[in-house]
Symmetry: D2
Subunit: 140 residues, 4 copies
């Protein structure tokens, strides 16, 4: 797929449009239809015991899918999540959590992404999988 925003463009968009979340995420790779992001976990992302919480993993998958779409269609600010199905499969190991998301379908109205979350050192043992649908605003 064509790339309309590269890593630097997505980083600038994240900082400008989501200033309160920008410190939580780091782009690892932008290569449409794939985007890979890492979570910079802080205390408020953790459950007792030091495990990353479910809502934090949901948020990582959600933001990664969003930028997966933007990398391909450009800086459209109004795409919204309409559906997510997520399976939590293993406890995260210590270390950074990474999400690798793939844009599976880009239609006129809907985009579908699918990806996995894993501990940086264990890509073959995914912690979670998620599929998400975004509604895309009609071109003006």
């Amino acid at each position: 797929m064509e790339m309309k925003m590269d890593k630097a463009a997505l980083e600038a968009f994240l900082v400008r449009d989501f200033p309160q979340a920008a410190g939580d995420y780091k782009f690892v790779e932008v290569a449409p239809p794939y985007v890979t992001m890492a979570l910079i976990a802080s205390d408020r992302h953790l459950r007792p015991g030091g495990t990353v919480s479910g809502p934090t993993m949901f948020g990582l998958a959600d933001v990664c899918a969003y930028f997966c779409i933007l990398a391909t269609i450009g800086p459209v600010g109004l795409a919204v999540t309409t559906n997510c199905s997520i399976d939590f499969m293993r406890k995260p190991a210590p270390g950074r959590l990474v999400c690798r998301m793939e844009l599976l379908k880009l239609g006129r109205m809907l985009a579908v992404c699918e990806g996995r979350i894993f501990s940086e050192n264990a890509p073959d043992m995914p912690v979670a999988r998620a599929s998400l649908t975004y509604s895309i605003p009609p071109a003006p």
Copy 2:
């Protein structure tokens, strides 16, 4: 369904086991198989424009399902979310967000909950719906 923990018992459990999240949620009603909770939204739950974020709604559904199970089986600390499917349907109106969750199935190993999130003043226009599966630890 039988009630093993009432509202006061669930509140005490929330404060003791999830001290960092206890200020975010308020029990509205505990009436198995239903539990209703409200979100006490603060700045970190909001997107630009004042809308409650997707991960925050996911978190509300998740915690409400958890306490829906605990109300029926008692203070078992090890139930974990294995799956969630969530649909975001409308933008939240101003006002408190409420989640009403129902325990649909309580098996030996799995519990399934289903519920809706709505703005306190508009229960007929749900903002989101969610279904969640929890894995329940075997009785000791």
Copy 3:
């Protein structure tokens, strides 16, 4: 919600547009936003042991959601399922399977339904729950 097609209109639509499936389903009640349909199970719907198969239950939920939408928007032939999340919770008891579906959201482009499948005699012990999204063709 307004009703654009009543039970007789939906029955006629089913027979005309889905002749090969019309014998499998029966409308029980049409009362938007709810539509209730029963499965007329035959041998090809059953698994060994006489249990209704998963794909048959999926099909029942899917067709019931479709007619739930049509009851409200009228005879639009081009709505298509884009997503379904289904939980199988119990083995069906002997007797007819019934699906009661609710139209939760009807937008310009997307409709979301949620419902339950149960044995006719045991509505409180649902066999399955399902949520479905349909994409609706733009008005001409």
Copy 4:
């Protein structure tokens, strides 16, 4: 992952335990954690216009996930589907439909599979994606 049943063993199991469905499916490749199966579509799988129906695609994903698990754990007859999330993304092109399923997690009680359905000649344009959870009976 270890292979407990190869292609010939799975084919024999399919014919013996699901005689009424055996003619609908063909194993393409058995290579744990992946199993690939093709649908032998007949009239009853088709919608008007010759498109494979949603329930038929659901059934293909379901059976492929089942054999994905059996290839790894051996001939256990009692695994049951507890959840499926499926996205329908494109109309199938003419030609055989193929499902490639991956076993993502094999726990003591639950197995999670994820896969895609595509037209044989267009693996890069998936028609559907699905994730499924199976409940596995405890070892005797």
